[in-house]
């Protein structure tokens, strides 16, 4: 029977290096996926991973187990990846232009386009995926982190809140705006390509 994360953590604290290797084997793929989703660059993701597991090794003594080990690891990975992104400078665009616009009395100010089907079938799987990848990359970091953790990593709102150190309400609001922005980009692409309901 395999040991729990907490048991492995205790063994690492006691100086068992094999336990560290076991924990690395258990989490390196998840950490890599998250780092790559956030940085969109394999070389950066590799550096993030090196820093993350070195931090885990160095700080394991201070990990008290108040949150799950996975949450702690996700938090270190997110913070390390965000530092990498900050080093690239402010490349992200504002998401406001992709959010829905409303008139003063709360009606849609722009035509709402159904891009889920169309005679030209422009939003094919590959194309759609490419637009979405670009759209996720262009999200401001706070929104990107929440969307990646929730929709790509499959964490719950509560888990995401714990990882990013925000309230569940704040997580839900960011997630909603991120999804609205992605929807807006797909809509704009479909409109420019001539897809009509």
């Amino acid at each position: 029977m395999s040991l729990s994360d907490q048991e492995l953590v205790e063994q690492i604290k006691a100086g068992d290096d094999a336990a560290f290797k076991a924990l690395l084997g258990r989490y390196q793929e998840r950490a890599y996926r998250l780092a790559l989703s956030l940085t969109k660059n394999p070389a950066d993701a590799e550096e993030v991973l090196q820093d993350v597991f070195l931090t885990v090794y160095r700080k394991i003594a201070s990990f008290e187990g108040r949150s799950a080990f996975s949450t702690w690891l996700y938090r270190i990975t997110v913070n390390t990846a965000l530092m990498k992104l900050r080093g690239r400078g402010p490349a992200q665009e504002s998401i406001d232009e992709y959010l829905p616009q409303f008139t003063k009395d709360g009606r849609h100010a722009r035509m709402v386009v159904d891009f889920t089907h169309g005679p030209e079938k422009l939003l094919l799987l590959k194309e759609r995926e490419q637009i979405l990848r670009e759209a996720i990359e262009a999200l401001p970091p706070d929104y990107k982190v929440v969307l990646v953790l929730r929709d790509l990593e499959g964490l719950s709102n509560e888990e995401v809140a714990e990882v990013v150190g925000a309230s569940v309400l704040a997580v839900k609001a960011r997630l909603h705006r991120a999804r609205l922005a992605l929807r807006g980009r797909l809509e704009r692409y479909a409109t420019a390509s001539g897809v009509r309901p």
């Binding site: 290096d17 793929e29 996926r33 991973l49 009606r107 386009v113 159904d114 969307l147 839900k172 992605l182």
Partner: protein
């Protein structure tokens, strides 16, 4: 449409007019909670009533829902085996450097 159907339609419309009517903007703000199934029953009903008479909001919900589903379908790249080897070597060297007495 018969006269009684017309009257019933008018009565229903009148009743709806007395209930809280959502705007498109409010509908969009409530969408995530609605799709998560955590809206209060009355609010969910108001949202559904709004969508019945608002094709734009119906389309908006359809496309919002599809976008979320498509994001979850994005294929994630697997970690290359050679990267696992490089990472293990990197950590071994670093840890040995910091703890020369360790068995890494």
């Amino acid at each position: 449409m018969t006269l009684s159907e017309r009257v019933m339609r008018w009565v229903r419309k009148l009743f709806r007019g007395n209930a809280k009517m959502l705007t498109c903007q409010e509908q969009v703000e409530l969408l995530a909670d609605y799709l998560d199934g955590i809206l209060h029953h009355e609010t969910a009903s108001a949202l559904e009533r709004h969508m019945e008479g608002c094709p734009e909001c119906l389309t908006f919900m359809k496309t919002y829902k599809a976008t979320s589903a498509w994001v979850r379908e994005i294929a994630c790249e697997e970690m290359p085996e050679e990267l696992k080897t490089r990472l293990a070597s990197f950590l071994k060297a670093k840890i040995l450097q910091e703890h020369p007495g360790g068995d890494h």
